[in-house]
Amino acid sequence: MLSFNEVKVLIIEDDLAIAEIHRRNLMKIERLNVVGIATSQSEAETLLDLLTPDLILLDVYLPDGNGLDILRELRQKQQQCDVILITADRDAETLQTAMRGGVVDYILKPVVFARLEESLNKYLKQHSKFGHLDDLDQRIVDAMISVKSSSAVTPLRLPKGIDAVTLEKVRELFLTHQQITADNAGERIGASRTTTRRYLEHLISTGELVADLNYGTVGRPERTYKKQ
């Protein structure tokens, strides 16, 4: 039964009925092996030590503690373990802690299995990539940490949210205009102000444009963009 690429999953969920449903659903997915179910924080801590799971389905509410505490502890101990947070919480703090703790996914209760399945499959795909490769090359890292890559802009690659066609349209505006506001530019290329501004700001970061605060015709300051 134990295959090389098997992923050991621990379910931490205070409601045994829900945990059991999760378990049955997870069994349907290949390569996932539910190795344990913990219904309290203390139980979870023991099982984490004993079973060293690769993945945890972590509920936030536990009778004797908080799933977020378990997450923090995991990170402190630097245990090699991924977490999918499952919670009914909709408050900002939970999200913040989850983001800081670097969770793989954040799934809201009530859980629709399709959503969970999607998340797990995505996880398995990444996991197998890691499993097969000894050396990671930059492309794979970038693909995995999709958002973070945009900060390291290579001249050829465009960041997320910037597409080449629109960018060219925006560039063309400056052939006919000395300076232009985001509002104006938006009207001309048929996009919203915020979208257009995104492109204009991108062009500032590449050094093509500069922005200035102008006291325009109406008397209130407007940000205008012009060529460097």
Partner: protein
């Protein structure tokens, strides 16, 4: 009041001398009022000093009288020793020759006695006739008769203790043939001094009375200066003040009228990381530049909830002028780190938001359960699953988006909280899907972005709620961009906008005063301060009944003044 001062001291003097001495001095000294104590101390110390002085003067006088009398006596003795009649009288052993002459001399110089003795010390002349021919008393003739010296001596003679001048009598051949002794009884000198002593006593009483008046007056003056407190009470109050200041969490500093730092409590020392000893009694403007506490000495107006930047710490301060007798005597400032207050306010807001959320969720939840039970009843399983999926769909998307686009958890948290809030208010909060906020530059604090975002969004909510035109969708659009060299935060709403008569600059400075009743209205002011601190820009575009766009631009590059800028 003056009358009282001059009437009371004699009364106090009598009182303190007779009735209160035994029962107060030892046991209840501290219970005696300060005025009475000062009076007692002054009176007794005055009395004691004068007593010592009198004794010294008296002793000195007696001594100098003795000296003077001795010198006189010796002079006369020397003169008489040269007298031919006396030499003859000694040689012939005949007292009658000089009796009258000497007696006359004695009475005229007021001496007690003039005695002439021969070489054996037998008297040739003496004020009392019956003692003539007898041996002289005092045993102090040897130096004159044997060594031929002239001298002053004090000795017990036949007439009593006296100071005497003695000189030998020498005949024409140079032989010592006798002695002349002129003396004054000491009692007669003391009698003279007694008169002086009486005078002294009168003076002492006068001085003590003056003392009483002065001490009474001084004590009153002094107590007025310390608000009528007894010294022990005052000491206790002072200690109490010190302890109170050290126990409170607020930092407290005070300055005097010249702007010197006069006190600083433990909390303030900890906040600014200074040692009290190093800063006390130094100019405030030197020790804590940026704190313009000295300014309120001139304006004489107290200030509350002022935000300041001192020693790189943002604080919220209350400052009050000290007025004593109508004059400015200094100023006191109490303050708290702004972060503490912000933290508390944030917590409170979160708790409030949470309880609101729970309420609306419970309600929604019941309705949904109702629908689900209905659908199951009708056997529509697929619809049930869809409905449950919908429940989380919007939120799940939002979280997904925030996790991917916004790297700063606190900013993501605020956006999440505000969009929940918008739902409850029946508004729509849309976050521009092209928004992006990667890791913040080091010098930009996430808290500041939250202040900006939170205030803008809250203002937009207010604007949407108070908008009376029936717009189909009341919408707030948030857009965050860090694509360029600046972080751009923009919040747009289609709410009521601002009336034309409100001047933008004034608004940013003071906030919206109409909100001050709800403990708000400082939001824009705070935002403006933050923008200034980062050398950023803030623009506002508002049209009445159409809506408002607020935009903030914060440079990503760190400018050095940012840290020291005074908000």
């Amino acid at each position: 009041m003056n009358l009282k001062i001059f009437v009371l001291p004699p009364y106090f003097l009598v009182f303190s001398m007779f009735s209160s001495i035994q029962n107060t001095i030892l046991l209840n000294w501290k219970k005696v009022s300060f005025r009475r104590r000062l009076l007692l101390v002054m009176t007794f110390s005055g009395l004691f000093k004068l007593l010592i002085l009198s004794i010294a003067i008296f002793a000195y006088l007696i001594n100098s009288e003795e000296q003077d009398s001795g010198k006189n006596a010796l002079g006369i003795a020397k003169y008489l020793a040269k007298d031919r009649d006396i030499i003859t009288a000694i040689l012939q052993q005949d007292p009658t020759l000089i009796k009258e002459k000497i007696e006359y001399l004695r009475t005229s110089i007021d001496a007690t006695f003039i005695v002439v003795g021969d070489i054996k010390g037998l008297r040739i002349a003496h004020p009392l006739d019956q003692r003539i021919g007898k041996k002289m008393k005092g045993n102090d003739n040897d130096k004159a008769l044997k060594q031929g010296l002239s001298y002053i001596s004090v000795a017990e003679g036949s007439l009593g203790k006296s100071v005497r001048g003695k000189t030998p009598v020498i005949d024409t051949q140079g032989n010592i043939i006798g002695v002349v002794s002129v003396g004054y009884l000491l009692t007669s000198i003391e009698n003279k001094a007694i008169h002086f002593l009486l005078f002294l006593v009168v003076m002492v009483i006068l001085v003590v009375l003056t003392n009483a008046v002065v001490s009474g007056f001084t004590a009153k003056k002094f107590q007025n200066a310390i608000f009528g407190f007894e010294p022990e009470e005052f000491g206790r109050l002072y200690t109490e003040l010190k302890v109170t200041l050290s126990t409170i969490k607020e930092g407290v500093i005070s300055i005097d009228a010249k702007g010197n730092l006069k006190s600083i409590n433990r909390s303030a020392c900890e906040t600014f990381k200074v040692d009290a000893k190093d800063v006390l009694n130094k100019k405030m403007s030197v020790v804590f530049p940026g704190n313009n506490l000295s300014d309120i000495l001139l304006t004489k107006t107290s200030e509350y909830d002022v935000e300041l930047m001192i020693h790189g710490q943002a604080v919220v301060a209350n400052r009050q002028v000290l007025i004593v007798d109508g004059n400015v005597a200094g100023a006191v400032s109490s303050f708290r780190l702004k972060d503490e207050i912000t933290e508390l306010t944030k917590r409170l807001a979160q708790v409030r938001e949470y309880s609101d959320l729970l309420r609306s969720q419970t309600h929604e939840h019941r309705n949904k359960l109702n629908t689900i039970s209905g659908l199951i009843h009708l056997g529509k399983n697929k619809e049930v699953l869809e409905l449950i999926g919908q429940e989380t769909q919007h939120y799940q998307h939002l979280i997904q988006f925030l996790r991917e686009a916004i790297s700063e958890p606190m900013v993501a948290g605020v956006l999440l909280g505000k969009s929940e809030r918008a739902k409850e208010l029946g508004l729509q909060l849309e976050i521009d899907q092209g928004s992006q906020l990667l890791k913040l530059p080091k010098h930009i604090r996430a808290e500041d972005l939250i202040t900006i975002l939170g205030n803008f969004i809250d203002n937009s909510f207010d604007a949407c709620i108070s908008d009376n035109n029936n717009k189909s969708v009341k919408k707030v659009l948030v857009s965050i961009s860090d694509f360029g060299n600046e972080i751009i935060i923009e919040v747009e709403d289609n709410g009521c906008g601002l009336p034309k008569d409100i001047v933008q600059k004034k608004l940013l400075k003071q906030g919206i005063s109409s909100k001050s009743a709800n403990n708000r209205g400082v939001g824009l002011h705070l935002v403006n301060q933050i923008v200034n601190r980062y050398h950023g820009q803030l623009t506002m575009d508002s049209v009445a009944d159409k809506g408002t766009i607020m935009t903030v631009y914060l440079p990503k590059k760190h400018s050095k003044d940012t840290d020291n800028a005074i908000i």
